[in-house]
Amino acid sequence: MTAQNEIKKSILASLWFMFLTFPIMVIKVNTVTNSIEWRWHNMAIVGIGAFFLSMLWRYLLKRKEEGRKKDQSDGLSIVQRLLHERRFALPGLMIIGIFTLLFPHIFSMYQTNIMISALIFVVLGLGLNIVIGLAGLLVLGYAAFFAVGAYSYALLNLHYGIGFWIALPIGGIFAALFGILLGYPVLRLRGDYLAIVTLGFGEIIRLVLENWNEFSFGPSGIKNIPKPGFFGIEMSMHTTTIYIFYIVVVLVIFTIFVINRLKNSRIGRAWVALKDDEIASQAMGIDKAKTKLRAFALGATWAGMAGVVFASKTTFINPASFTLWESVIILCTVVLGGMGSIAGVIAGALLLILLPEYMRDFGQFRMITFGAVLILMMIFRPGGMIEDVRKTYKFEK
């Protein structure tokens, strides 16, 4: 295609955008003087912006097309190569480890708190990654399991005085039970049908928490949830934050360890097989119901534990923390990071939680940016930022 052609296309796009945004970008009713302002300069900005963006857009599309024709095998990204090269992976891990250890001492309380939230979402993302990334079950109401964990701790503590460390596994187990509860009726569903039902499930849990005042104290939530204890020693606000930070770090490491093992196991392979082809999996001797329920239960467990940590961190929970928006963010971390890829999900969660925190000024554009980034990802990197690479095996012959 000629350059002339390209420019013509971009001009068309920019005209189209100017027309579309005309009512909101150009016309403004001044209610004080009862007159209409014509902001023509806005139109110019939209026009020029659309022109260049459409150029860029088509350039990227073209590059992607060309990339596709190349050999698939050298399509590994830099990150993937680094991860697979022991020489780089070990020192890299050490640096990350030391940085993490020092983090709460270098940065302020505020930063540490944000990091704790981000790490909680890493755990959530990794948990959902079992369900979506490995087993291919599109679950939309994942925040419900997060809520189950948080409320397990809050209520158990309120009524029975149960502490954080006992509540942590209990929260996980409760969430797992809810996972099975949800999983059982939807065993036959796939794809969008499953997504809709699980979305409904998430909303039901939230609505119950919001309206069942005697049980969950409704929208006003539960206050004064204790922070995790350390052998009954009194701790200052500051030390507690650092303490929670380390707890979350350990939880993240534990999660990575377990999921990595699950992924490269008989069960993990069965999940991926089910995702690829249910009928063939069954013909290979995989019990569909059992395998799916395991994915639901194990995926939910992490949300439950993350919920307990969340409740202890904020010391106050109410249903507003477990809305569809939370589910969507967790889903985005998995999709954006790379389905099935542990490193990808971690990167995705950190990016999606930390960026909005540090760019609060753009608060009102959050939703639109999310949408735009997701669409761009789907088109240009459908496998996510760090794509999953299948394990290869060594043979003794």
């Binding site: 008989r266 069965a270 013909a283 290979m284």
Partner: protein, 261 residues
């Protein structure tokens, strides 16, 4: 000789459509049996009924492990596989996001048992099992002649190799009966010849019986010891390749098509 699989009077209805109409079939140990018939005759449906994907409307399916009679009707596909019936699919159904080796490793699922705890703690038993799975799977790939593709993603394989991989995967379940649904479809004559050898090898070396659906008459006639012909869901003939070749009913069903080579 006692059969290893016996289908009696099996019927399968889809709403008003009778896809299989009281068909009988039996296979003896070590036999290669072919099931042929025009398009839409109900051959694949027959496989789906035996392997538990559909539950037949009526009739019985029996197997005889260690001399004891067992009825397969209504069992789930994964249970049927555990009992020793493995199959391939007419429209290739490989696990596309997994490597060739992993595809075969999935086949070992039926004969291994590591659970969640085994996966997380990865004790000695689990490790040994994993090693066994890898070794066995690689061995099968070597036997089938796919070892050069081990770490390739299944989807990147050439078509003929994908069909062979389906067979490799089925063999990993340790079957006594292998059900092949049009294994030669889409293969060139060279590949078909190799497939012919492969099927014979599987039968002769491992004593696995084979039930074969195939449109390639040359392959069917050279391999099978017994042929069943179905048309519109009904069995219209049964016999040796020689008998089938000269059966006027069969020739009529295949009207216009060439039966002998």
């Amino acid at each position: 000789m006692k059969p290893i699989l016996e289908v009696q009077n099996m019927t399968m209805d889809f709403g008003g459509l009778r896809a299989i109409d009281s068909v009988d079939l039996s296979i003896e140990k070590g036999q290669i049996v072919a099931l042929i018939g025009p398009n839409g005759a109900g051959k694949t449906t027959f496989f789906n009924c035996i392997t538990g994907i559909y539950t037949p409307t009526s009739g019985d399916i029996y197997i005889y492990p260690r001399g004891k009679e067992e009825r397969l009707n209504g069992l789930k596909p994964n249970i049927v596989t555990k009992k020793g019936l493995a199959r391939t699919f007419q429209n290739i159904r490989l696990f596309t996001s997994m490597t060739v080796l992993e595809n075969v490793m999935i086949g070992c699922h039926a004969i291994t048992k590591a659970g969640i705890m085994g996966a997380i703690f990865r004790g000695a038993a689990t490790k040994a099992e994993e090693r066994l799975i890898v070794k066995k799977s690689y061995g099968i790939l070597e036997k089938i002649g796919l070892e050069k593709y081990v770490d390739e993603l299944a989807i990147n394989l050439p078509y003929g190799a994908q069909r062979r991989l389906e067979i490799a995967r089925a063999l990993a379940t340790d079957p006594f009966l292998l059900l092949l649904d049009e294994p030669a479809a889409g293969m060139n004559p060279q590949e078909t010849m190799e497939l012919d050898e492969l099927i014979l090898k599987i039968r002769n070396r491992e004593g696995i019986s084979i039930l074969l659906i195939e449109h390639d008459m040359k392959l069917v006639m050279s391999l099978s010891e017994k042929i069943y012909v179905v048309d519109y869901g009904k069995k219209i003939a049964e016999g040796t390749p020689e008998e089938i070749r000269n059966n006027p009913v069969v020739i009529k069903a295949y009207l216009g098509e060439e039966i002998d080579e």
